[in-house]
């Protein structure tokens, strides 16, 4: 929660400075952004390599747990298709790309900015931050209405870190473990899916 607010603060101060025209070469930041993105992807990869929890969880729990992140993907795809139909005038590629962030707003918005444009990247930032925020706020309600798996599904990639505490508290420790596994798989899936969507669609 605090982390997302800090990130939102950096984004908004960028908007403000851009508005004020203080920085003259704002549009020449592209090259710098490319290198920063490559470095970010490399360190994100290292972070994934540090963490060996998912292998252990898969060994300890039933293999069926592997279906959880798959169904988050299927549900997000279905929801994105519905949003595409509802919005009417957006390319399917853009809607799917924004949805495929699974709440991982930092990486997805940065990648989409590079492969799409700043408008779409900003949309991905707001969409995925709100997915995380709504998961945090509605976790108790989701558990009561749809069972312990619901906040894990809602959290998407964030269920391994930011939304893990509320999941463990309201759905129980076992769903907390499932959440870590699902979140890790989806975290790895985000850059691959976003790249695939913007390359082949």
């Amino acid at each position: 929660m605090k982390g997302s607010l800090i990130i939102l603060g950096f984004f908004l101060s960028g908007v403000l400075l851009g508005r004020l025209d203080i920085i003259p070469q704002a549009d020449q930041a592209g090259d710098l952004a490319s290198w920063a993105l490559y470095m970010l992807l490399f360190v994100v990869g290292m972070g994934i390599g540090f963490d060996t929890r998912s292998f252990r969880i898969l060994r300890e729990l039933h293999v069926k747990v592997a279906l959880v992140p798959l169904f988050v993907g299927i549900g997000t795809l279905g929801g994105s298709l519905a949003a595409w139909a509802l919005l009417g005038d957006m390319p399917l590629r853009d809607v799917l790309g924004v949805g495929a962030g699974f709440g991982y707003y930092s990486l997805s918005s940065i990648m989409i900015t590079k492969m799409g444009d700043a408008a779409l990247g900003s949309m991905a930032l707001i969409a995925n931050i709100s997915r995380e925020l709504v998961t945090l706020l509605s976790a108790p309600l989701l558990v009561r209405l749809f069972g312990g798996l619901a906040p894990v599904m809602a959290g998407g990639a964030t269920s391994m870190d930011t939304s893990l505490p509320v999941i463990a508290r309201y759905a129980g420790e076992r769903y907390g473990i499932i959440a870590v596994f699902s979140g890790m798989v989806l975290t790895v899936a985000v850059p691959i899916l976003v790249t695939a969507i913007f390359t082949w669609m």
Binding site: R19, M46, G47, A82, M123, R174
Partner: protein, 135 residues
Amino acid sequence: MIVEIGCIAVGVPAGYLLRTRPAVVGAVDRLTTWSIYALLFLLGLSLGSDDALVAKAGDIGLRAVVISMASLAGSVAAGWLLQHVLLRGALDGPGTVRPAMQGTNAAMPSPPGHAGGHQGDRAGDRAANHAGDRA
């Protein structure tokens, strides 16, 4: 786009090999955080300096909320389908907080791997809530 995936693909084994070095882990953590700050600041900058985009900010935000809420609802629906139709509660197993925590549920047996026992699931979930409230 090969470059993007390549950066991650090189990072994973590097991270795996260096995972026991606290200095490396700490440095990677800080680098990740600050490159995200920098990149989102730059994204804000390119949005803010583009008058056409600023004019569309409300529209962008509205679309974002529509996509995210539809994705969230779709995922919750898919999860409900998975748990209650496909697996029939198989994800609730040993390790869940037992209903014994709650007085009224203490007498209700909740064997692990119960088939189609949705009542049992809910009781377990409720008990987990109350246990959480007390903690």
